[in-house]
Symmetry: C2
Subunit: 322 residues, 2 copies
């Protein structure tokens, strides 16, 4: 019982890891998700990849304490069911039971953001803190909260959907059907769109030369332009940072975390984004929280999902013993 | 061990209750706080009132399982210390130890808002729910969260200070030194001020005739004018409701409560305030939360503090047994 398996299932890729009981990654493999092949095919391939890793490591599945997997969308971790995932086209898929059938080991699943934040909270940038608020900024934005090693869930496991709170001053329609959701701006596509629309409104930017077709502009490119001192890129980060700060102000005040971890693809912007966030937060937070809550970027980023999934499975299975 | 004592210590009044072990109020007494007489005098008088109630009930202090007290300001419930209270002029007062000395029974203290919300969550409007978010709107606004019978604290017991989050569009200076804090509008004085300033800007209102000296205008009077169809009063409730909804949107999304309880003096406005809140919330919340989170007014209001304090003391003392 010296091993764990952690899986991060995304809309594009599946990352599968074999870890030791402390959550150190020993081996990992990345495969395309190919969501259109359906859930049974995906789960069969995940099991196949996990078996490959065990075989490469020269171990037997009986040496694996438990398997954890983060999946996108709404998850019922108690039932082990993916309730709905727009990315995967899943509805009420009994993921844990299906994967357990293939691997013969206990399987625990949860939402991918919670797994990511759990990994960072337990073994990443939040490892030194009892109360950790984690926010992932990527295709969308969502949050999770870990208190004393336990994830907070709330009613119907829905806590943390901050990307779909409507914000004053935001006017774009969101994929969810509402208007002005936080993630229409604070997300990788939101960053790219803000820069693009600012340029289209007539402002000059080095991004114009780099992207003759502005629809191809990415959040990473905005970071690049920022480093060249581009005014549009700087304004973009300031504005996105301002709105992220507004969302964090309530998150921090309501939850009282000891530290905030910002992760996900857009977190690669690092201080370009977190600088404006920190400057804005100071004016927004109650005195008791101000200047006292450190904001860190994620330590693992790519691997946080498999580390979190593996440690979550270990916790759910009841700790050290089988 | 069939009794509990619950105390709600406010800046103006002390409410002291003798309760049975289920948290039913058997006797209660209200006394002026007279904060200027200092903490030792206040605590001596609280103990005196508690002893009176026991004597009236014909019981001995040995029949009291535990004593709970809610105090305003920042509290460290683990240490039993009032860290700071501007209302009382207290700083690092070891309240629990001092009161225990007087009463000879275990004493547990916490912030008054958490005690109030705990009372409503366990035995009031939230009794049917596992996850309860409580918000009190009175002199200020603050929140607390109860999950499975446990209060959420966060770092340095500071979770829930939502009154001092700065909000877009609010420009008044707050007592805390910042500008635009939520409670400059969403509070009893905030409601009165908004109505007063709207009238002073030239709008007609029946409140003008009722209050020749507009500085005497109260939140209760705004409710009265609302019921007469007064346009200024209606606009006031709409605006205050809009900002309360903005604050609740993040609270609900981050915490995932099953129900929201709104209490405190300003909650006496009832549907006049909650109507606008509910209408605004629908557009602000993520789909998964929308139309599914009931918002109730507090059941006990006046007694929630002593009920919550008593049940908190029982919980802290370890339940049924001594």
């Amino acid at each position: 019982m010296n091993y764990l398996i952690g899986i991060d299932l995304g809309g594009t890729n599946i990352v599968c890891g074999l870890l030791d009981a402390e959550g150190n990654v020993l081996r990992q493999a990345k495969r395309p998700t190919e969501a259109d092949r359906g859930h049974e095919d995906i789960i069969r391939r995940i099991a196949g990849t996990a078996k490959e890793l065990m075989s490469e490591q020269g171990i037997d599945s009986r040496e694996v304490l438990a398997v954890g997997m983060g999946t996108p969308g709404r998850v019922n971790p108690e039932m082990g069911v993916s309730v709905s995932s727009a990315n995967l086209g899943w509805k009420n898929v009994p993921v844990a039971a299906l994967l357990r059938e293939q691997l013969g080991r206990p399987v625990y699943i949860d939402n991918d953001v919670r797994m990511y934040v759990y990994g960072e909270a337990m073994k990443g940038a939040g490892a030194a803190y009892r109360y950790v608020l984690g926010v992932t900024v990527g295709t969308g934005i969502a949050s999770a909260f870990v208190a004393d090693g336990r994830l907070h869930y709330g009613r119907t496991f829905s806590a943390g959907e901050i990307g779909h709170v409507a914000m004053d001053g935001l006017t774009h329609r969101c994929n969810c059907g509402k208007t002005g959701c936080l993630e229409t701006l604070v997300s990788a596509p939101g960053i790219a769109r803000y820069a693009r629309e600012t340029i289209q409104s007539g402002r000059n930017s080095i991004l114009q030369q780099a992207f003759p077709d502005l629809d191809k502009l990415t959040a990473a490119a905005v970071s690049w332009a920022y480093d060249q001192g581009d005014a549009v890129a700087i304004e973009t980060m300031e504005t996105v940072g301002e709105y992220l700060a507004k969302a964090l102000a309530f998150n921090i005040t309501v939850l009282g975390p000891e530290a905030v971890i910002v992760g996900g693809g857009a977190a690669l912007a690092g201080e370009r984004l977190l600088g404006p966030v920190k400057r804005r937060l100071e004016g927004l937070l109650p005195n008791v929280h101000r200047e006292q809550v450190p904001i860190h970027t994620a330590k693992w980023n790519d691997e946080a999902g498999i580390i979190g999934s593996a440690l979550f499975a270990k916790f759910s299975a009841g700790g050290e013993s089988s």
